[in-house]
Symmetry: C2
Subunit: 408 residues, 2 copies
């Protein structure tokens, strides 16, 4: 794959700066710390979004939702890490508005063409002055260079240990090409229906609102909505796609190009979702859980969710302990209906359960499989034709460490 960065599609610029929100790198010489990202489109871009299902929503997020739902084209996106701008009351909306105004002024656009997102600690006021003070530098460094895009990604990361950037060039039926890029941050408080996660896609394709919205929802439903780190759903999650049409290539529903674009976007969303699960807080392993043969889609989702959220399953894989009874246990309490005497389970291709009976297996072979960094858990119910899949990670000492001292 070519190098991926959010400002690769035509007409997009980006950058990230250190505005003093994250802990000062001080004399440690770590110049790689960034905490405010700016994404800019040279021409007005259509934006679609999907958001956290949490009843409590962050103030920066609510402001963006209100703008996106008006279907007014946007020009810029300011995203900060370290402070979530949530649960601080009316002041949180004012803070988000001030940041947008300050960005709009420097960019020469309208405040309601600037979206806002924040991720980090809840219940703390945003240091608006620091962000506004950084704005001239942010705007001045806007660029279509890969390095500038990578800085934007670094600026939205919190406990992420690796950047998450993806890119695809979509060759359309006409022989023309459009580009899609994506970036995201995880990595705790990750649960289906979005979490503390922020995902941004950009494309230079020209796509109308209802189509853009549909494409995003399709892509998210079996990717971002199938990632679980700890089952906690944050108040700030959002995935947006920005389509600025700078390629001059339009994509309409019901065409071959639509299908090509939809597949590319879904593949990118799936890739980045795997990256998020694999980089879950403290994770040492990626677990891919599939259920096949469920009686209904709902049952399939209930089971992959229960297995992906089970602390017993997750700590067992961390310890490389072949305690596979925990998988059937989680399936059993998931709320899905199935005949426990028909269930089959394979772990990374090793049969561990047939007809509800746990099998004996070669302990050496199991130990070898469990030592891998990527593990598949396949569950077959023989009840119907429904399938689902979820990505998660193991549960380690480091998860406890990271989340036992996040604020400090």
């Amino acid at each position: 794959m070519c190098e991926a960065y959010i400002n690769k599609p035509q007409g997009f610029k980006a950058c990230g700066v250190y505005a003093g929100l994250k802990t000062d790198p001080g004399n440690s010489g770590n110049s790689d710390i960034y905490d405010v990202a700016l994404l800019y489109s040279e021409v007005p871009a259509r934006v679609a979004g999907v958001y956290t299902s949490n009843l409590v929503k962050g103030h920066s997020l609510v402001r963006s939702i209100d703008i996106i739902k008006t279907n007014k084209p946007c020009r810029a996106f300011v995203i900060n890490s370290k402070v979530a701008n949530s649960c601080v009351g009316k002041a949180g909306y004012e803070d988000a508005a001030r940041i947008a105004e300050c960005a709009a002024e420097k960019l020469g656009v309208e405040p309601d063409e600037v979206l806002t997102a924040s991720t980090g600690t809840i219940g703390v006021r945003l240091p608006v002055d620091k962000i506004c003070d950084a704005m001239p530098g942010l705007v001045a460094s806007l660029s279509d260079d890969p390095e500038a895009g990578h800085k934007a990604e670094r600026a939205i990361m919190t406990t992420d240990t690796v950047p998450k950037e993806v890119m695809a060039t979509v060759s359309l039926s006409s022989g023309k090409e459009v580009t899609i890029s994506g970036m995201a941050k995880g990595s705790g408080m990750i649960s289906p229906n979005l979490a503390t996660m922020i995902g941004v896609f950009t494309t230079d394709a020209d796509i109308d609102y209802p189509v853009l919205d549909k494409l995003l929802r399709q892509a998210v439903s079996h990717s971002f909505n199938r990632v679980c780190v700890d089952g906690d759903t944050s108040v700030c999650d959002m995935v947006t796609i920005w389509a600025n049409g700078a390629s001059g290539v339009a994509i309409s529903e019901g065409t071959e190009d639509y299908d090509l674009f939809a597949k590319a976007l879904t593949d990118l969303a799936t890739d980045i979702s795997r990256m998020i699960a694999k980089d879950g807080e403290g994770a040492t392993k990626l677990l891919e859980i599939t259920v096949d043969g469920a009686a209904s889609d709902k049952d399939a989702l209930l089971i992959v969710s229960a297995v992906a959220k089970s602390p017993l399953v997750k700590t067992g894989f961390f310890g490389e302990d072949a305690n596979f009874g925990r998988i059937i246990t989680a399936a059993g309490y998931s709320g899905a209906m199935f005949d426990p005497d028909k269930i089959d389970i394979d772990v990374s291709g090793l049969p561990v359960c047939r007809d509800g009976i746990m099998l004996e297996f070669d302990e050496d072979e199991a130990a070898k499989l469990l030592h891998e960094e990527e593990i598949t858990i396949e569950i077959r119910l023989h009840e119907g034709n429904s399938f689902d899949r979820m990505f998660t990670c193991d549960f380690s000492y480091d998860y406890v460490k990271i989340n036992g001292s996040y604020r400090t």
Copy 2:
């Protein structure tokens, strides 16, 4: 409180032995290891039970459910730890039956007067020969001594670090007394609707089947069904109450004595539930979560459950990190409906959230409260009159350690 042991009510005997199921203490000289418990009633006892909601149920448990539902009086209860006798197919039922037959023969009772329970690793055959070999010794050591009761409790423990035994003498309106004892094991895979938990109550009161069943269900609903360690519901959980009538005192519904007995049993169940949460695997703190003012009982339960299961909340309290935004976050994604701008939260009496806004607080005061071993989280919604409460514990390095290497 007087010394508590399961064989304290009149007419009950108990004991526990080491049958070689748990790891051999070897030369370490630890003579305190027990793995098979026997409870015996000198006269036939009525038994009522409540069981795991898991679709997958252990074979020893299923056998006991089948007997209890016939309302046939029972005489003995064999409980083993280390092996769950689950997911091994038809052989698992035969194993449970053989253990009951072997106990029945030595006790001179019928096999279907002997209940069975197993807790431990799933998918492994019970070492029936070891248990049957231990049976003569078990029967010979049956006693009403406190020490024998304590051995029975030790024999049902798995990763528990402290025994859980309770006792109450109930003074009835007639001036007569009956005794209730209880013992339980936790401590991981603990979730509402019972978990890898086994609870046993004995009483010398004379109580008819439907009344006994009702008393148990009432006592369990807001105690055992409100304990959460990790949200995993095991396949072997059961709580039973044995009433042998040896005191000669009958208790009927609709009497003052019924209310006195019901209150005593509920209090004991609550006490033992707190013990289970506090001794959750790796736990360093007991968390008592209450919701008041919910619009419905369902909403109240959804919120206490979500907060009690949140790995972010639980690791935060382990780290004594005053990251209280995670509590409102969990409430928000619980599925309950409430106005996020009306929620109030106190942690151990310290106001941390009012009207949905996180408050500033004295960090030193918070640090002091968070350092305590018992912490209360009070959530008030101002939506209605429903209340609920759940006991849980924090999530520590040791939880991960215990469950990353349980089988080995």
